[in-house]
């Protein structure tokens, strides 16, 4: 406990932990200190633990409240998605993509569809389908970030924002239910387009949702992201410097939270994003170290909060340009994919979702690789944890916003 009451300024408490570690490690010089050395304790956080957001196990070595080491164990939700991809037909695999990042199933559908479409050179996707895809994917990004917002609040101990966030998410799910009949696992975006046109009045309701959400968003930001205690808990915690983020291959809000201005939607555009960006429909929010230092948990969190607003603007833009037309390209009932291989990465709410598909011209894939962003993003946690407090480790895991279905696939 003596570690907790440090008299160093609070803003660099992390570096003071680090310095202390070095002090105990370097046995060469005799330091003058009265810290009682207690035996280390190994604690299993998970597989069943509220802070691990699913069935993940983090083995933590603790000295009192101070975390001295950690090890992440995955695989509790491994469902062999890649092996299944080699055994079912192209279209049959689509519902399996819903299951890896179950909070952003639309985005997963899109990633897989785009990877297969990359192998079909003649296939053209109609404009209405492109815009419907974009609208749904962005709505799903909002829904996914709302969960990230709510559960991060929950990790920090604020329960109410979680329920507010889920209320808005519920509305998005209702919208999805109207367009495709499902609330969580949509399989809405198909190879070649989308499978169902927007029902009458749906686009109008999406516009209404945007109006309401814009107002609510300000409240949510003030309630949690700008709350003083919340800032105290997350700023300066789990700092990922720029070069470390790049070295670990982080993508999405994790990368942007560290101050790297990179977004696949803007920098390697697909669907309607290039056009939308040129029309000024959205910006890419980047962490600035506003409340703490660049790349801390608060930055990562706030990037997600701001992205929700940008997604709203994108949806608005799409609603403005959408017009009637066909919703799916010319594809046969049983899809035959020409031989070839392709890797397509798209910007998921959690980072780059990559699909590598290899076809030999047959009914099933030779190889269907899924590169889930959470899998890469969680790897950095082992590195961040030593030298933080137990409560900080929860804040760090929460700020990576992982979905276990995706790390394990």
């Amino acid at each position: 406990m003596s570690n907790s009451t440090s008299n160093t300024p609070e803003k660099d408490h992390k570096s003071s932990y680090r310095a202390e570690e070095r002090r105990t490690l370097s046995s060469g010089e005799e330091e003058f200190f009265f810290d009682v050395k207690t035996s280390d304790m190994e604690v299993n956080m998970g597989p069943q633990h509220p802070a691990t957001h699913g069935v993940m196990r983090v083995l933590i070595r603790c000295d009192g409240e101070l975390v001295t080491g950690s090890q992440v164990h995955l695989g509790y939700l491994h469902r062999c998605a890649e092996k299944i991809g080699e055994n079912v037909e192209w279209l049959q695999y689509l519902p399996y993509t819903d299951r890896y990042d179950y909070l952003a199933a639309m985005n997963n559908n899109l990633g897989y569809s785009m990877a297969v479409e990359a192998l079909m050179p003649g296939l053209e996707i109609p404009r209405r389908a492109v815009l419907l895809r974009t609208i749904n994917v962005e709505l799903n990004r909002i829904a996914s970030h709302l969960v990230a917002y709510g559960t991060y609040g929950l990790d920090i101990g604020a329960i109410t924002p979680f329920l507010y966030a889920f209320r808005e998410r519920e509305w998005i799910q209702a919208l999805f239910e109207k367009i495709c009949g499902a609330r969580l696992t949509y399989s809405y975006i198909r190879i070649g387009g989308v499978f169902n046109d927007a029902p009458p009045g749906w686009l109008k309701e999406v516009g209404h949702f945007c109006d309401v959400f814009e107002e609510k968003w300000k409240e949510y930001r003030d309630l949690l992201a700008l709350n003083h205690i919340f800032i105290k808990r997350t700023a300066h915690v789990g700092v990922i410097p720029k070069d470390m983020a790049i070295d670990f291959g982080l993508t999405g809000p994790m990368l942007r939270g560290s101050g790297v201005d990179f977004d696949l939607r803007r920098d390697m555009p697909y669907m309607a994003y290039g056009e939308a960006y040129e029309a000024g429909a959205f910006k890419v929010p980047v962490g600035s170290g506003e409340k703490g230092e660049l790349g801390d948990s608060w930055d990562r969190f706030y990037v997600r909060v701001e992205e929700m607003m940008e997604s709203i603007k994108l949806v608005r833009w799409c609603l403005g340009v959408i017009e009637d037309g066909p919703i799916i390209g010319e594809i046969p009932k049983v899809i035959k994919v020409p031989a070839g291989e392709a890797y397509v990465g798209i910007e998921n709410p959690r980072g780059e979702l990559g699909h590598y598909v290899h076809s030999d011209g047959g009914k099933v894939a030779v190889r269907c690789r899924v590169r889930g962003p959470s899998f890469t993003n969680i790897a950095v946690v082992e590195e961040l944890m030593p030298g933080t407090l137990l409560a900080d480790s929860v804040a760090i895991i929460g700020s990576t916003d992982i979905v276990i279905g995706e790390t394990d696939r």
Partner: protein
Amino acid sequence: MSILHQQRAFYGLLTLAILTSVGYGLVSHGAEGMAFGFFSSFTIAGSLMCIWERSVVRSAFSLMATFMGVAGLFLLLGSDFLAMAQILIYVGGILALILFGVMLTPPDLGERSLPRIGGTLVLVLGGASLVWKHVMDATESLAVLPVEELTPMTSQDQSVGLAFLHPEQYVVAFELAAFLLTVALVAAVYIARRRTADFEPEEAA
């Protein structure tokens, strides 16, 4: 005799002793006697458990019974202030700190092999007879001066405060103790303070 049996025998004897003293107090001096029997035997039982128990933490917890029993005895004497001070300082403060320190030590069961059967019997019997003797003595003294006839100590807070501040009573001792504690506190802070200058900040490395 296994550890479990020893444990059972010990606690059985202890319970018997407590019940006996409570019962005797009740028969000889009514409700007050019963309360006295209860509190006094509780005090002694707690201290016996403290010696007997193999786990350090359980020993520490059993001290709570002792402290509470003593507080109860003070209450019985009509001295609320002392009773509450006993609970506040010993149970809420000192015991919590002892537990805090003791709990992180590894459970070393082999080390505390003091209470063997013979020693245990001696301790328990001695304790029981002590309880008995205490009850006898105390009830006799109570019989000399029944509780109803004790002058009730109204507003003890004021009498205690006045005693501390009265120049002819404890004011010098009180001030000296306060001064000593302040010096000790400042010295402790001085010794335990973190010397940030001793190791360079991380950025420099």
